[in-house]
């Protein structure tokens, strides 16, 4: 059998995977193994597959993904902490033919931005909200988030979250599913190839909903924060499966077709 050369591998017909052009060439600034990078990729792949790069406006949050606009090769706006759904509301209402999404962490979406999130959902803004829930404030160094699990350690709950003192974790996704304005509410993960495929399908569905003017689609991605959790990536994923998933069960919560 003839040797396979590099040139053979590079032939278009042998190509099995290619980074989407909707990701820039800038190296990701995320910690190795962090779910943010995978989430970015699949959102961009969906936009590429739907061929809507020229019609999409993304809203970046404040959090580790504050620089999402450095990596996503689309027009983007960077919002004040928690306010992305307010920006998205105006962008969509003023440009009904554009596709609009927010990409937000749990502190951004479920603490400081609770009002903006709930009211955008309740008004049924025709947008997509991508919600990265890693149970912690990654960017600021691992403080307690509204989503931090009971007993879970963080830099501001160093002995574990005492729910009597610090309150209970907030299940924002279940909460917004109650609102008449949400059309599709789902919780997914990106730690295995199978989950990545499911999440990508969910994101595709969310953008298809927007195309059909159906209302607000809300996709939570339960993710890891190795740095904040003080674990290596493998441990973090195991810990996420054992501890986060029982509290934040994966799957569709609301599907109005």
């Amino acid at each position: 059998m003839a040797e396979i050369t590099k040139e053979d591998i590079r032939k278009p017909e042998n190509l099995i995977y290619k980074k989407t052009d909707l990701l820039t060439d800038k190296p990701l600034s995320y910690c190795p193994g962090c779910g943010h990078g995978t989430a970015h990729r699949i959102v961009m792949e969906v936009l590429e597959e739907m061929d809507i790069q020229d019609k999409t406006i993304g809203i970046a949050p404040v959090g580790c993904s504050v620089l999402a606009y450095e990596f996503m090769n689309i027009d983007m706006q960077q919002a004040a902490h928690g306010r992305a759904p307010a920006l998205a509301t105006a962008v969509k209402r003023l440009n009904p033919d554009k596709f609009v999404f927010t990409y937000q962490g749990d502190g951004d979406l479920a603490a400081i931005g609770t009002a903006e999130t709930i009211h955008a959902c309740n008004r049924g803004e025709n947008i997509v909200i991508i919600f990265i829930n890693n149970g912690i404030y990654g960017m600021t160094g691992g403080q307690m988030a509204p989503t931090t699990l009971p007993g879970m350690k963080s830099s501001t709950s160093p002995y574990g979250r005492d729910v009597h003192m610090m309150g209970n974790p907030l299940k924002m996704t279940e909460l917004v599913a109650q609102l008449p304005g949400t059309i599709y509410v789902t919780r997914q993960a990106v730690h295995t190839p199978a989950n990545v495929r499911k999440t990508k399908k969910a994101i595709r569905k969310a953008f298809e909903n927007q195309k059909l003017n159906k209302g607000l689609s809300f996709v939570e991605i339960v993710s890891n924060c190795n740095s904040g959790w003080k674990m290596n990536p493998v441990q973090a994923n195991e810990w996420m499966v054992e501890n986060m998933f029982p509290f934040y069960p994966l799957g569709d919560i609301k599907v109005n077709d």
């Binding site: 027009d75 960077q78 004040a80 306010r83 920006l87 509301t89 962008v91 209402r93 003023l94 009211h119």
Partner: protein, 354 residues
């Protein structure tokens, strides 16, 4: 028309694309008028009652970042809530118009008119080194005029413009002449006139990013230098004021908005007594008419500033005057409008006799 209604109607006619607000006295008529007018039918303008002033100003950010003509209005406590958003808008260099129909503070204060938000309006309010162009109407006509002028200046400089009114002018009824309807921007005009706007990345251009963030200190400093250069240009090109009876004046009153109306009557009363007083009315509070006040300081024997506050604009007047002549403040607080005779008294006791 009421001042607030004139502003709202003028905004529609200026070709506004979107209004985002939250009710608060004494400016709720702005959104009430807009909703009643159905501008979505008249021009396609979007009017949305937001869940808070915080949301409203961030909706303005989102809309402005798309190159749209967007505005919001509120009164003092609501404007305080908007400060973070305004700072972001200034940092990201987005055009928009913000109306503050000022009421007395601090705190919930009163719903009656005041001018105690001067510092907040002209010196920052939010965090960081930024400025807004601040237009101070003193009539219902100017409420209407400054809606359109506000948009034009905002787009000229890619900067937020604040219309600093007060409860008296917002609620007052006067005759007003309105401009003809100007069409809203077309998609093509937006792409041509505001090429930085997020309109969707097409193959023929790089992506557009609207942000106030730059973690590289050297670049952030450069950005700040560029902002300061822009503010300096505004000072050179956009300073506006009105001079009333200043040619032969021995004494000067400096006042804006409602206080300028009262002071104009006081000038007439004083002149009837043979005391030659003039009125300098700043129309832009930033940029402040420093140069003309400095010039007048060489002519007059004393200057009285009249403000419905504890004395805020007086600091800028003193900066313009230095120690050349006496500068004193007269004002009422808590929602009380001074009377012309009170101003006459203050001029006599604090400046002429003082």
């Amino acid at each position: 028309m009421k001042g607030n209604e004139a502003f709202a109607e003028a905004a529609i006619r200026a070709g506004a694309d979107g209004y985002f607000g939250y009710p608060i006295t004494p400016q709720s008529e702005v959104m009430e008028y807009l909703m009643a007018e159905k501008p979505h039918e008249r021009t396609g303008m979007v009017v949305l009652q937001a869940e808070s002033e915080v949301a409203a100003i961030n909706m303005v950010y989102g809309g402005a970042a798309c190159g749209k003509r967007v505005l919001t209005s509120s009164s003092s406590p609501g404007i305080s809530l908007k400060q973070e958003g305004i700072s972001y808008i200034a940092g990201a260099e987005l055009p928009c118009v913000i109306l503050n129909v000022v009421r007395g503070g601090p705190g919930l204060g009163t719903i009656q008119p005041s001018q105690s938000d001067y510092f907040q309006s002209t010196k920052g309010g939010g965090h960081g080194d930024y400025r807004m162009i601040v237009l101070a109407p003193s009539s219902v006509q100017e409420m209407a005029d400054f809606a359109r002028l506000g948009f034009d200046l905002a787009f000229k400089y890619r900067n937020p413009v604040l219309v600093l009114s007060d409860g008296a002018i917002g609620q007052m009824m006067e005759k007003v002449e309105l401009d003809e309807q100007r069409p809203r921007f077309t998609e093509e005009e937006i792409i041509k006139n505001t090429p930085w706007a997020t309109t969707g990345k097409t193959k023929d251009r790089e992506r557009n990013i609207i942000t106030s963030l730059d973690l590289d200190s050297a670049k952030q400093e450069l950005h700040n230098h560029a902002l300061q250069a822009k503010y300096k240009l505004m000072q050179e090109q956009e300073t506006r004021f009105e001079m009333i009876s200043c040619e032969d004046a021995d004494y000067l009153i400096v006042a804006y908005g409602t206080s300028a109306r009262i002071s104009q009557k006081a000038v007439d009363l004083l002149r009837a007594e043979g005391i030659r007083v003039g009125l300098l009315r700043p129309i832009t509070l930033f940029p402040f008419p420093t140069e003309i006040i400095s010039k007048l300081a060489d002519q007059v024997k004393g200057i009285l500033t009249v403000e419905m506050s504890a004395g805020q604009m007086i600091e800028d007047v003193k900066l313009a005057v230095g120690c050349r002549v006496k500068v004193e403040h007269f004002g009422r607080m808590g929602g009380i409008i001074p009377s012309p005779t009170e101003v006459v008294e203050a001029m006599k006791t604090k400046i002429i006799g003082g």
